[in-house]
Symmetry: none
Subunit: 209 residues, 4 copies
Amino acid sequence: MQRPDEKKRQLIAATAAKLFATRPFHKVKLDDVAAEAGVGKGTLYVYFKSKEDLYFWLIYDAFSQVIEQLESQLGRGELSASQTLRRIIAELVKFGFDNPQLFELMRSAGPRIKDERWETKRKELVTLIEKTIRRGNKSGEFDDPHPEITALCLPGFMRSVMLFGSRGLDERTVVVQITRLVERGVCGGEGSDKNDKRNVAVATGRNGR
Amino acid sequence: MQRPDEKKRQLIAATAAKLFATRPFHKVKLDDVAAEAGVGKGTLYVYFKSKEDLYFWLIYDAFSQVIEQLESQLGRGELSASQTLRRIIAELVKFGFDNPQLFELMRSAGPRIKDERWETKRKELVTLIEKTIRRGNKSGEFDDPHPEITALCLPGFMRSVMLFGSRGLDERTVVVQITRLVERGVCGGEGSDKNDKRNVAVATGRNGR
Amino acid sequence: MQRPDEKKRQLIAATAAKLFATRPFHKVKLDDVAAEAGVGKGTLYVYFKSKEDLYFWLIYDAFSQVIEQLESQLGRGELSASQTLRRIIAELVKFGFDNPQLFELMRSAGPRIKDERWETKRKELVTLIEKTIRRGNKSGEFDDPHPEITALCLPGFMRSVMLFGSRGLDERTVVVQITRLVERGVCGGEGSDKNDKRNVAVATGRNGR
Amino acid sequence: MQRPDEKKRQLIAATAAKLFATRPFHKVKLDDVAAEAGVGKGTLYVYFKSKEDLYFWLIYDAFSQVIEQLESQLGRGELSASQTLRRIIAELVKFGFDNPQLFELMRSAGPRIKDERWETKRKELVTLIEKTIRRGNKSGEFDDPHPEITALCLPGFMRSVMLFGSRGLDERTVVVQITRLVERGVCGGEGSDKNDKRNVAVATGRNGR
DNA sequence: TATGAATGAGCATTCATTCAT
DNA sequence: CATGAATGAATGCTCATTCAT
């Protein structure tokens, strides 16, 4: 363990994520992070330039991960606009359920992170959604007069559910309902609850979980 | 200036809101707040117990204001579920446009505010929406299998638009699009863009702005 | 109550004395003094120049009172050195029993009060004692090679007993014991316990209490 | 300078003692302590929890030191009650001469220190004295009807002399006079000035200093 | 690379004092 | 005289960052 250790970097990041999710930025002491991670305080600075840098990477990494996952999933096969949208929603919800701390984290991050890379990633997601809707508009699947607004709404959607309502709701139901809300707002109203459930199963590529 | 002055409290709150909207919590100096408000630093502590207390009230007051406004508006006349929902959306959007700083503010607040009163207010809004949808379900206006999820989504909707997209979009268009998204997700899909615009005008009771 | 009110001055002084006796100087807030006394904070400054001024007068007044009492008692009749010393001790003990708070107060005052008047008063007492001893040395009643040290010791004597031991000891016993200690150290050892008690009764001019 | 350094703790304590002896508690700035000690301000908090904590330990340590010194001295050989008492006095006087600042310090501490450990130490000393007198009473060396009062008086004795009179008096003379005062009050009056001086020399185990 | 003692700029908070009413 | 809201200088304390080992 004499060379920069990716394992240790992960350990620090995970520990920090846990703490940042619990209390707001200015109440998280690097002393605590170091102690909780079982490393020296100085070690943090071997892996991260500053507290803000550490904070930044937590959010950025998590977010990038989702986007990547989405893009890789979507880049492969040929999905209709409708299927694509469902996948996006499913993926975001899954991510939310899998990383409740990180969602909490992203919540309080917001305006602090002015870094260009971050805005870029965010726009990547919004654009992904917007393009999908526009594609649906063209193909006749959708009929949304303002894809840019709808695209902006989707992440906020997610956040609300994840942060304040996920207790007691199962992942499947949430995906279905959000899909329903969005698809209906976006196209002409077709798609029953049963169809939704079937389609979602297709989209997520899972059978039960 | 001999009795504790509600005007001065407001002045301080407004000044603080401006600064908290600009930079994150830990970068706002009470020195600056005092200077900007034109009062002594000690005066802040006459009206607020601490920096966090000040911060808390900013958010709480702003939020309460919206809820109150909504409740007072809805308590009066007799509106259909559909009209009520439109008014809620219109009011939230209006508030967002009127107080861009505060929305930014609320964003970074999140997990800090564990105060019961705050959660109560939030639930008040969600309940207001949920009840409206349920009412619509009963009256046949809506057909939403999960009003609780939809209700949870609405505030997140708003936030997204306000925080990242409002530049270049006018209030009216945003109201219309969100209304469209929600109503279609909630009922059977009727309602054209034109109808929406008309209905919104009715709901907000304004003619142009 | 429109003119400077001696009653109010006393009220403030008494209240302050109580608080200063409870906690150390820097923990007594004038806010508390004002509140406890039931007057406005500004009123304190009508009667006292500053916090330190208030503090000073509390001690000074109390101390002056003892000295005065002693001098007036001793100035009148003609007492032997021995009787005089007993009276001084009796008076100091009485004062201690009557004003337990103030003794506590004087304790923590010490080095803070550099005021000349204060040192003067203290020296007045020490000198009174020293002169008495010297008088006794000359008259043959005492035989103390270092009256100045003995004189310096007496107040410290008092303090110890008052501060840490008075609980459970009655005034009479304390006077007797201290008198015994001092007189024996000062003269040749005569004076039995019984004699002491009798003499003390003579010296204090009281019959039982 | 990598391990927490007891030397540095001592340095800080010594510096603080000097300042606290000069001015009252609330006028001593930690900035000054740090500057005078040649360490960073933050370093103070590495070794002491707070200003009051620092203050506390100054007094406590100094007092403990005397008690320890006494107990270790007395625990060794077999001394008569009379010799023991002389040693106690000699030790206390020596301590006062060696640490004039600390005696000043202890003076203003008083009611602040409610800590149990502190009261315990104080009682340890008083008990030590009281036991010695009782031992003398039994052995016939002393004849003191109230050892508990006498014991309470001794520390006060010391304080007075140290604080207000030591200027111009040499250590030896003070020891002799106090011993004289106490022993005579405690036993039957024998012991001349010359004998005292001789005995003290024996008790302290020093020949001149 | 890993550490944690040392640091000091930075900041929230206090509280004696003032003064307009 | 009486008041208490307003004040701001003064200061204790924090905590991200550094650097010698």
